[in-house]
Symmetry: C2
Subunit: 255 residues, 2 copies
Amino acid sequence: MKKPLVLLTNDDGIFAPGLYALHQAISEVAEVAVVAPDTERSAAGHAITIANPLRVSSFEKNGSFFGHAVNGTPADCVKIAYYSILERKPDAVISGINFGSNTGINVLYSGTVSAATEANILGIPSFAVSLTTYTNPNFKPAADFSVRLLRHILENKLPEGTFLNVNVPNVAHESELAGVKVTRQGKSKYKDNYDRRTDPRKHVYYWLTGYKLDADEEDDVDDVAISKGYISVTPLQYDMTAYETLDTLKKWTFD
Amino acid sequence: MKKPLVLLTNDDGIFAPGLYALHQAISEVAEVAVVAPDTERSAAGHAITIANPLRVSSFEKNGSFFGHAVNGTPADCVKIAYYSILERKPDAVISGINFGSNTGINVLYSGTVSAATEANILGIPSFAVSLTTYTNPNFKPAADFSVRLLRHILENKLPEGTFLNVNVPNVAHESELAGVKVTRQGKSKYKDNYDRRTDPRKHVYYWLTGYKLDADEEDDVDDVAISKGYISVTPLQYDMTAYETLDTLKKWTFD
């Protein structure tokens, strides 16, 4: 049987070690194609490039990692891979392994998640996978879980219209994980601030800074599951309609 | 009574005529602040700027339009307005008037909508407003409706967690509108393509091109309502969890 074709991308850029780790693991079970941003595009959200042209460059690392670097966003990478680079439709798209969790409000900001969203729009099974740390990463548990999840998805199919957002705690050994928990997107968001500085030419500039406020306590919320050592798997869809308010609004007269 | 403070932004940039038209209309009923991207940021999605500093410049047009131009995305503009520019929390945020509809899948790509989303995250009532044309715009019906909707929202409050996505047909006279319809986000998406070209230095580049595929027929869908001459008002929220699939996934063993 022909090996499945899996497209890998990310938002940390084609140089990122998390993408490399994912590539090594998935290559064991699938034919792998990599199309990823040529620089870091964290917090790219679901941006796509329409006002500038895209360029595609070949990329190689260690004689075993080959890919295409694109001067665009993660969503661009999935689109141009599908429409112009790959010779056939991939059987799955995996976006990651991201540096840092993509939970709560970060689901909106994340380029990693948006690449999985874009794959879903194109009718390709997909998931995003993130490691919940920015320091001392051990990508192996996340890479191994990605292999298991990929197999599961290819065998059992994802429910129609659904893609997955996976967050893996950073542990030294897989045995430290509490298990896998199916979760919902939490309500955690940021208390932001802009650090106002003056450059050497005396011009003012601002750096976004801030910290995440945990807003949830229920066990079935992404951040809570992670804090208890679980791999969090959140099924996502992209219809943002606030269905429960439709009836209320239909009573408005808009005069 | 003190006039309400309304923050205006967009993704077409601070020079855009739709923002100017909105400013003229809203200024009649509110104190207005403008914080908008210094260039067009269409299709910025919910991108925010974290890897580069932001700069803020004063902007003036015709002696009556004053604002702040930011080298960032629409979501950045709302954040930096709230945290660093405005002296008090705005009573509402309006994003627009956008050139071109933001319906179906465009809700994800749209920087206009994402600015309204960001306001909602910050706890500020908000709506995005778009005109369904790229040519020969008549912003007046959309600007007038924005005034009515703003008043309605300030008086009646939006349902908790909900913000609005408004799309106004481009008509010469308001009397040509069929009315207002409360809708849901449709499933229309794009059949894309990348136009492969060669630059004067013989290097290849790609332009995103494509057309929208209308996927819906039901009267309560955004694009359908617009096609029948209605102003479409879609309540949105940003929890992307696919709730109806949670039970299915909880049966998965992930082995």
